[in-house]
């Protein structure tokens, strides 16, 4: 197996894929959204309980590839307990990391562990897998639409 693909499918990702965190429905969500990638059939529901501008609780359900599932899992960890402003910044940084030309150093700023997904950039076709849940997050927060499709 080639080196860059090894870098992508590293232990932390595989662990989150196998045991996704916050992989659950939550009660009384204030914000929900669905994210669908018709290309590969990835489909997630995202549930948020935001109170006083703070993400009090978050959960997701659904099915998809290891990348989309582990991103989702790690995202829930990254946003729980955070202020909505910070969440939006995180989301922007994550999406920028994968869709624009920025250096790893810039990207790392807020993302912490999430920077492991930067190598998804080497697999352009998989970028949509990695950004799917973030697009759903965006939609949930904006409540513009509850359906998000990446294709």
């Amino acid at each position: 197996m080639q080196k860059n693909i090894k870098k992508l499918y590293q232990q932390v990702l595989l662990d989150h894929n196998k045991n996704p965190r916050n992989f659950k429905l939550i009660e009384n969500p204030t914000h929900v959204a669905r994210g669908v990638n018709p290309l590969c059939g990835d489909e997630y529901q995202l549930y948020l309980r935001i109170e006083k501008d703070i993400v009090q609780e978050v959960g997701f359900k659904g099915e998809g590839c290891a990348i989309s599932k582990s991103v989702s899992s790690m995202m829930t960890q990254a946003i729980i307990g955070q202020h909505v402003h910070h969440v939006i910044e995180l989301k922007d940084q994550f999406i920028t990391m994968l869709t624009e030309e920025i250096s790893e150093h810039d990207a790392g700023h807020l993302l912490g562990h999430l920077t492991i997904f930067e190598s998804v950039k080497d697999f352009p076709i998989r970028v949509k897998c990695a950004t799917l849940i973030w697009r759903a997050l965006e939609a949930a927060i904006n409540q513009t639409s509850t359906n998000v499709s990446t294709e």
Partner: protein, 398 residues
């Protein structure tokens, strides 16, 4: 029989293990050169010019039609209508035929495992006409039960459309029986031959469907070209769906009369170079020992199925007795997309996803599958490389 040398892609990319011929086939030198040579030394418009380049192009265009007629054993070259692909061909039948004959309350019968190209046009017709789209169920092993099929035919059934070979399951459907039953009931049949054209001998006289559709790019031919075989009994019932030059007889401000078939269905400057490329592809096919090709493909399919069966957690989707060379599978706990990416890193090209057939995914309760499919260039080495890489996937996901 090593056919790789006929295909320059394997020279440009020697490590390539191409296992996605059901999506599109690679092109032999014979086809690539036919197109280049045509553009370089014979190019002209067709049907109109009195000058040599145009006369010769027209001759070649017509010769291609006759070569395809003979390849599929159609009664006449006028039954061979050039389109841009299977999708266009099916749409031609949907909007050029079905839309004019299907009435409110009527039924269109397709299987539940069709390609989107053989679903969405019928949904549209049904929607516009207030008709019903009915689905023939397919068994867990990917077969059609003829009795079940027959029981779904009613007096209101106005069209039957189904794949000759399923692009997901690899099943070869009993199109002869189905066509015969349809005929007994006086119902027109469209066969989507996209997956069959490169893998099964196709004979319009023997099969005698009303419509048979296929794409050049799955037959070692160029993109942008396809065929809609239209039987004599249907030719005069069809309306064109595209209008313009070449398909007319006389245009007056008030009114237009159309040219006879097949030109009537070929509006505008046709895809001339693609037609010539398709002719070359048919030549290429006919230069092969078809039985030997089938034998090799069958061998590879058996090999890959046998090995996949021995892997824990692998599920093969589609185990029809009559099957062709596309093999879909899933692995518990590993998403097909991840399989595809890891295989790609080893230069192994397989297809993962819904294969343009989401209802089939729903039918088999999977979000997606991984699919391996073969062309004339594949050999045992390709299968072994695939299986080795699959082991690596299993190890990663441990």
């Amino acid at each position: 029989m090593n056919k790789k040398s006929d295909f320059p892609i394997f020279e440009s990319y020697p490590d390539l293990v191409y296992l996605d011929s059901a999506a599109t086939t690679q092109k032999p030198t014979h086809v690539i050169d036919a197109i280049s040579n045509y553009y370089s030394s014979e190019y002209g418009t067709v049907h109109r010019g009195v000058y040599e380049l145009s006369v010769a192009s027209t001759r070649r265009y017509n010769a291609a039609r006759m070569a395809i007629q003979s390849f599929i054993n159609a009664p006449s070259s006028r039954n061979v209508v050039f389109t841009t692909g299977t999708t266009h061909s099916i749409n031609l039948v949907a909007f050029g035929y079905a839309c004019h004959y299907v009435k409110e309350g009527d039924e269109i019968l397709i299987t539940e495992v069709e390609h989107h190209a053989n679903i969405v046009p019928w949904q549209q017709v049904a929607q516009r006409k207030g008709a019903h789209l009915k689905f023939v169920p397919v068994t867990d092993s990917g077969e059609i039960d003829i009795d079940v099929f027959s029981s779904l035919i009613t007096k209101k059934t106005k069209l039957i459309a189904m794949a000759h070979i399923s692009n997901v399951l690899g099943s070869i459907f009993p199109v002869h029986e189905i066509t015969a039953i349809a005929k007994e009931n006086g119902i027109p049949v469209l066969i989507d031959g996209a997956q069959a054209i490169a893998h099964e001998p196709i004979d319009m006289v023997t099969l005698d469907p009303d419509f048979y559709c296929f794409s050049g790019h799955k037959l070692y031919g160029p993109t942008g070209i396809g065929v809609c075989y239209i039987s004599d009994r249907m030719l005069d019932k069809m309306q064109p769906i595209l209008f313009g030059g070449d398909m007319i007889e006389t245009v007056k401000k008030e009114q237009t009369t159309f040219a006879p078939a097949p030109l009537r269905f070929e509006a505008g400057t046709p895809p001339i170079a693609q037609v010539i490329g398709l002719h070359a592809a048919v030549d290429f096919m006919q230069s092969l020992d078809f039985n030997a090709v089938k034998e090799k493909e069958t061998h590879l399919v058996e090999l890959v199925i046998g090995e996949l069966r021995s892997i824990k957690n692998v599920r093969i989707i589609g185990n029809a007795k009559q099957r062709s060379s596309a093999v879909s599978f899933t692995i518990d706990g590993i998403h097909p997309h991840d399989i595809g990416s890891i295989l790609d890193s080893e230069n192994i090209a397989i297809r993962v996803g819904h294969h343009c057939s989401q209802p089939t995914m729903i039918r088999y309760g999977v979000p997606a599958t991984a699919r391996v499919s073969f062309g004339v260039y594949n050999n045992e080495d390709d299968v072994h490389a695939f299986l080795r890489a699959l082991q690596a996937v299993l190890e990663v996901f441990g």
